[in-house]
């Protein structure tokens, strides 16, 4: 199947340098990024990433004495392309901090306790409907250690392989109703309000799903769509 990649609406993506996130001014290029002619090199991609990266930990919450602390949640994320077509077999990496706001990463200097029963990193594969399901606990908020008063709202990191190299997506999922969402530099870098609200998961009615967990629905749209037979 031939795939095509088109430029994205500008307001649906960060423009790179974000006031309030000091590192961006050192790391985003000063020269404008340029569009290049697209060839098979950019419009192909690894269809078997799992030959290099194995799946790990489909369940981060654990159970019994090994249950991680925090509110039990189920995430149901659907991976689709720009046609809305599911991307079955998409490899998805997910990582997030524990309920106290602490990551497993050794560079995390936040003064919050680790949870011995929580290891916040999973790699899973989308099923036939493009659906990825993860049982975990709700992450906490935490202060960004950059000398400002910025706190990150609860969020979950996603890294997704779409169908081709240019479909690769790394993003974050947010939770509805969190007061810190309104002041988060990263979420609000998406200037278009509709695009921004699509970065926030939907809580399913508690009459649905398991009795002991909150279920959050989410949709991730990776770049690319079926090439049209005749170009306009």
């Amino acid at each position: 199947m031939r795939y095509q990649i088109d430029p994205r609406p500008k307001d649906t993506q960060s423009q790179g340098v974000e006031p309030g996130y000091a590192y961006t001014a050192q790391r985003w290029p000063s020269r404008a990024l340029q569009r290049r002619p697209l060839t098979v090199s950019e419009l192909s991609g690894p269809q078997a990433v799992l030959r290099r990266l194995a799946t790990v930990r489909g369940d981060l919450a654990g159970s019994g004495e090994k249950r991680a602390l925090g509110q039990l949640i189920h995430i149901r994320a659907r991976i689709v392309d720009e046609d809305g077509a599911p991307v079955p077999g998409a490899v998805v990496e997910i990582w997030h901090c524990n309920a106290a706001g602490k990551y497993i990463h050794p560079n995390d200097t936040n003064d919050a306790p680790p949870d011995p029963n929580f290891y916040g990193a999973a790699r899973v594969v989308a099923g036939d409907g493009g659906l990825v399901e993860l049982r975990t606990i709700k992450p906490g908020a935490y202060p960004v250690r950059d000398g400002t008063s910025w706190w990150r709202p609860p969020h979950i990191h996603f890294s997704v392989w779409g169908r081709v190299w240019l479909s690769r997506l790394v993003t974050q999922m947010f939770f509805p109703g969190e007061p810190l969402n309104a002041s988060d530099v990263i979420l609000n870098a998406i200037r278009d309000p509709a695009a921004r609200s699509r970065c926030i998961a939907t809580l399913l009615p508690t009459t649905q799903g398991p009795a002991n967990a909150l279920v959050f629905d989410y949709q991730i749209v990776v770049r690319g769509r079926k090439a049209s037979a005749s170009m306009p």
């Binding site: 430029p7 994205r8 649906t12 993506q13 960060s14 996130y21 590192y23 961006t24 050192q26 790391r27 985003w28 290029p29 000063s30 020269r31 990024l33 340029q34 569009r35 290049r36 697209l38 060839t39 098979v40 090199s41 950019e42 192909s44 991609g45 690894p46 269809q47 078997a48 990433v49 030959r51 290099r52 720009e82 046609d83 809305g84 990496e93 990582w95 901090c97 497993i104 990463h105 050794p106 560079n107 995390d108 916040g120 990193a121 990191h157 890294s159 190299w165 240019l166 790394v170 993003t171 974050q172 990263i186 979420l187 870098a189 998406i190 921004r196 699509r198 749209v221 990776v222 769509r225």
Partner: protein
Amino acid sequence: MKRLVPTGEMTTGPFFPREFAAGANDLTVLDGQQVEGEKIEIRGRVVQGDGKPLDNLVLEIWQADPSGRYDTPDFLGWGRAATDASGIYVFRTVKPGSADGRSAHVNFLILSSGLMRQLQTVMFFEESGDPVFLSVEKSVRHRLVAKRQGANRYVFDIRLRGGEETPFFDD
């Protein structure tokens, strides 16, 4: 058909799991088997605007096999490395072939804390008539050519911002 808008990209943040960044930078072995081709090492240093090296920055590559084909059963063509505290990354791979009007090249994708979106660039082995190479302004395109060091090593340093800034693409 109604078109959906791609989800907004966001930074990996500083805490991309070490486990994810490790063990995927050797493309010369697949499923325990050595792959065919001229084995090379690609390494470089990644720095930010003030010249400071970046730690735990993630680089992913995508390349053709030695005959210029992509995603063949015998060669995956995809790998990932992370920089150390000195900003150094290393890949082991085989030299890609040229095909379909493209010269030999390796696509790079960069993820980091402080990078709101992925950055894309391309490493070439020499100056050439490659259409992507030629699409870059003449005065800076030499920055996309790796420096050969010894028989099998290519050095491709990446500067995110500032003087000698690497050219990046947004498609």
